[in-house]
């Protein structure tokens, strides 16, 4: 079994985020990046599969500032290989572009299973896993909280609203969007991280022609505007009801 885990970095929200001068992205000068929490769970799930039944784990990421550290940490956690894909830019790509940029390298890697985080701070729709599956032409399941190997397939737990769970079997190769590993991602001691860095075993690949194109473009990025504060309606229930009615009428939301 060969598992590829696709990871990326997201802005660390302990820092205050600023919109850049162009008004279409974050001001990267002050942003600190960290591993996407859901990708962390995907990696943990892969390492658990490796520990349970033996597997080769490759961690894959697009090249970008600070990505080496993330890949070394993954190696320290138990990944066997770390692959950095050069898409010709250090700028973060949206999920559509990232999926096309990564697909070729992943196909070359030839994994049986691809795991990635179900979503990210800059991909709240969780499009990465489906886009990747579409590029590869493989089946896909997202919002998964457990993955087990079942012969030539994997059995996954998919979560639905209201806490319902479905058990699905997916033929391999497949792409899984991981919401949570069965256990929290384990701690990587700094000594182990340093050993991984000293071993220096990062591989590189180049994204194929046509990679990283397509998708939507951001035209404007802005901070949510702070409201003027709530107006508290006071008085007896009847008085409050009258005030609400008056307000709704005033704003043209009531007919008749």
């Amino acid at each position: 079994m060969h598992i590829a885990v696709v990871v990326k970095q997201v802005p660390d929200l302990v820092e205050e985020l600023e919109v850049d001068a162009a008004g279409t992205g974050l001001d990267r000068a002050w942003v600190k990046m960290k591993l996407n929490e859901f990708d962390d769970h995907a990696l943990e799930q892969a390492v658990l599969l490796k520990e349970a039944g033996g597997a080769q784990v490759s961690v894959v990421a697009l090249d970008g500032e600070g990505i080496d550290q993330v890949l070394y940490a993954a190696v320290a956690r138990g990944a066997d290989r770390a692959l950095k894909v050069d898409a010709g830019t250090q700028e973060p790509l949206d999920s559509r572009r990232a999926a096309t940029a990564l697909a070729g390298a992943i196909r070359d890697l030839g994994p049986d299973l691809v795991l990635t985080g179900v979503q990210a701070a800059d991909d709240l729709f969780g499009q990465m896993a489906p886009f990747l599956a579409a590029e590869l032409g493989w089946p896909h399941v997202s919002v998964v909280s457990q993955v087990e190997v079942a012969g030539a397939a994997v059995r996954v737990q998919q979560e639905y609203a209201g806490g319902r769970m479905a058990t699905l079997e997916v033929d391999l190769p497949a792409v899984i969007g991981v919401q949570a590993a069965p256990q929290p991602p384990r701690y990587v001691p700094v000594s182990r991280l340093r050993q991984a860095m000293a071993s220096g075993a990062l591989e590189t690949a180049t994204a194929g022609a046509g990679a990283g194109t397509g998708g939507a473009a951001v035209t404007q990025l802005a901070k949510p505007e702070a409201g003027r504060g709530a107006e508290m309606l006071t008085g007896s229930p009847d008085q409050v009801a009258e005030k609400i009615e008056a307000l709704l009428r005033e704003r043209g939301l009531l007919r008749g």
Partner: protein
């Protein structure tokens, strides 16, 4: 040779062979254990043996038990002459200690110390079977009883042997044996004297000899091994400064201890030296809080693990029926995580056993395996990512300065006299920030030329190291040392005693030579020199809590007390003060873990002690973590109207009238 001599020689050789075999089995793992260099400063080592063994310096801190031990110990030294005499006589016809006083002053001492040892034994029995102090809980009672009985047999039989010899009327030492003579007179009353005393004299000679041999044979399977191992263990004690933990070799693929054979030879010797006296258990805050840790049981568990691994049989059976695993088996993870590294156990141990380094070494292995509670893991991740334990941005570190009303110098850009290493809690914790600002105002008022490192400061890693995250500690330490290396200053002042320990002690092993002081020392200097003048003496009663890492670890006992005196406060000491201070429960990374399994928080135990003084208005602390811990403890006990938690900084500010002080 006489038949007596042959029997005695055979018995003696057999016993010595057995004991020698046991010792060889016991000591074998020490010779295969990792190196520890404990042969430096021989003079200092020997002097420690003199004061600790000869002077009973640590033992006598417990007056009753120390006295009884001194009785038995000194008796043993004296009665050794009686034992030599008994065996010498039996083996070599005509052997006698008479030429050096065997019939005169040695005989007198023997007679007197026979009685002294028996008094000691009676005290020991009273202590163990009537008083039953909690510290004995978990110790091997049967072993203790056998030993007391054997000592009694050795001494009692020797006394009776001497008494019957005196009764025969042929003992030349009779005039020097008042006790034996008294007993002989009693025997005479029932008609045992002259020839008729020879048989009982012979019987008690043999019971004495057999008791000595039995004792010798029993010791290597008993906790009374300390008779032989105690002196070497004190000689080879750790002479490093208190605040320096043994380093871990990070170039190794795995660090820490997960198997008892990974302990260094001196760490193993510690295990044999333990007498199960439980002084450590009595002072341990984790044990008092109902957590699974007892330093005594930890040492006993490690010893039994070693004995089992060596196939020589433990003193006790493993509770789980012989688990092979050390971590998570004989010693539970939660036991190791309970330790606050307060060092109280090591301070009281008469044998100088090193509990904390062993615990940290096992924690290192737990960290390596990622075995820790989620909160601790999140904190370590925050320290890795942001250099502080609050999961906040580095740039927020100096935010407390904004409300000061004046600019604090940036020590990275300007030369300063005092470089103030503020620390995580004083910088980030909203409950402590007002005190941090107060200290800044006090320094400003006193005209101190000081500066801070702003966002370049990192957690010193003191507690990170004690958690067992050695790699992260080194990373933090290197960052801080690089930053300090680019600054120009005369000395470093810390708010946090934990930072003080790292900067003043741990960083020395990384080549740092900066003078480092705690803020209480600087305040004491400023009050003494007159740079600070209290305008309004506080005239109240305070009790002072010694923070572990200021007091026990760094000897900072007096400066805070002198500050309080100069502020006009009368200090009413708690019973557990100075070296015997009782930890608040936050040290060693405990502040990053939850309180699961705690029946009484150490901090609440401590507040009760302070309130019980009856007249203390203030519970004074000198550590930002203590401010947090004790304020919470007073609240949860509902004792806000009986005692107020105050940092030395707050009191100083009140006395200086920098702020309108609200005196209760």
């Amino acid at each position: 040779m006489t038949p007596t001599a042959i029997v005695l020689a055979v018995l003696l050789i057999a016993t010595l062979a057995w004991a020698g075999y046991r010792f060889q089995r016991l000591l074998r793992p020490l010779f295969q254990a990792p190196r520890e260099d404990r042969l430096d400063h021989v003079g200092q080592r020997l002097w420690g043996v003199v004061t600790n063994v000869g002077g009973h310096s640590r033992l006598l801190k417990n007056r009753y038990s120390g006295t009884l031990h001194l009785f038995i110990f000194s008796g043993f030294v004296i009665l050794l002459t009686g034992i030599v005499q008994a065996f010498g006589q039996g083996l070599v016809p005509g052997f006698s200690l008479a030429p050096i006083g065997g019939n005169t002053w040695i005989a007198l001492l023997q007679d007197l110390f026979d009685v002294i040892v028996m008094v000691g034994l009676a005290m020991a029995a009273y202590n163990r079977y009537v008083r039953k102090p909690e510290r004995f809980r978990g110790s091997n009672e049967k072993d203790a009883t056998i030993i007391l009985a054997l000592i009694f047999a050795v001494v009692f039989d020797m006394l009776l042997h001497n008494a019957f010899r005196v009764a025969t009327g042929t003992d030349p030492s009779a005039p020097w044996r008042p006790v034996s003579s008294g007993l002989a007179a009693l025997f005479g009353l029932v008609g045992i004297h002259g020839r008729s005393a020879e048989l009982p004299a012979a019987i008690f000679y043999w019971t004495h000899v057999l008791a000595v041999l039995a004792f010798l044979a029993y010791i290597p399977t008993s906790k009374h091994l300390h008779i032989f191992v105690g002196i070497p263990n004190i000689f080879f004690r750790n002479l490093q400064p208190n605040g320096v933990l043994p380093a871990a070799d990070l170039s190794q693929p795995s660090i820490g201890v997960k198997d008892v054979h990974q302990l260094g030879w001196k760490q193993m010797l510690d295990l044999y030296a333990c007498t199960e006296c439980g002084r450590c258990q009595a002072v341990c805050p984790a044990h008092a809080a109902g957590q699974p840790l007892s330093p005594k049981l930890l040492i006993m568990d490690l010893r039994d693990q070693l004995l089992d691994a060596e196939g020589i049989g433990g003193h006790r059976q493993a509770a789980d029926g012989g688990s092979r695993e050390l971590l998570g088996g004989r010693i539970l993870d939660q036991t190791l995580w309970s330790c606050t590294t307060c060092r109280a156990c090591m301070q009281v141990c008469p044998l100088h056993i090193e509990h904390v380094p062993k615990i940290v070494d096992m924690r290192r292995q737990l960290v390596e395996q990622g075995r820790m509670e989620p909160r601790l893991q999140d904190t370590l991740a925050s320290l890795t990512q942001h250099g502080n334990s609050f999961n906040q941005s580095e740039r927020m570190r100096a935010r407390w300065t904004r409300e000061l009303g004046f600019e604090v110098k940036d020590a990275r850009k300007q030369a300063v006299d005092v470089l103030w290493f503020v620390g995580d809690f004083a910088s980030y914790d909203p409950r402590v920030q007002p005190m941090t600002r107060a200290l800044a105002r006090i320094l400003q008022r006193a005209g101190v030329d000081f500066g801070i490192l702003y966002e370049a400061e990192r957690n010193t890693g003191n507690d990170v190291r004690r958690v067992g995250e050695e790699g992260l500690y080194e990373m933090l330490a290197q960052h801080n040392l690089e930053t300090l290396g680019k600054c120009s200053f005369q000395r470093i002042m810390t708010t946090d005693p934990h930072s003080l320990n790292a900067l003043a002690q741990e960083y020395r092993t990384l080549g740092s030579t900066y003078p480092v002081i705690h803020y209480t020392r600087l305040l004491e200097e400023l009050l003494t020199s007159g740079a600070l003048k209290p305008e309004r003496p506080l005239e109240r009663v305070a009790t002072y809590h010694d923070p572990c890492y200021l007091g026990r670890y760094n000897g900072g006992f007096d400066a805070p007390r002198q500050v309080l005196a100069r502020l006009g406060l009368r200090v009413h000491e708690m019973g557990r003060c100075r070296e015997n201070s009782f930890c608040c429960g936050a040290g060693g990374g405990r502040i990053w873990m939850d309180d699961t399994g705690v029946t009484e928080r150490p901090s609440e135990n401590r507040i009760r002690e302070a309130v019980a003084l009856g007249d203390a208005d203030y519970f004074v602390v000198a550590c930002p973590k203590d401010v947090v811990m004790y304020t919470a403890a007073v609240q949860s006990l509902g004792m806000e109207d009986r005692i107020q938690v105050k940092d030395v900084i707050e009191l100083t500010e009140m006395a200086l009238s920098l702020e309108p002080a609200a005196v209760a």
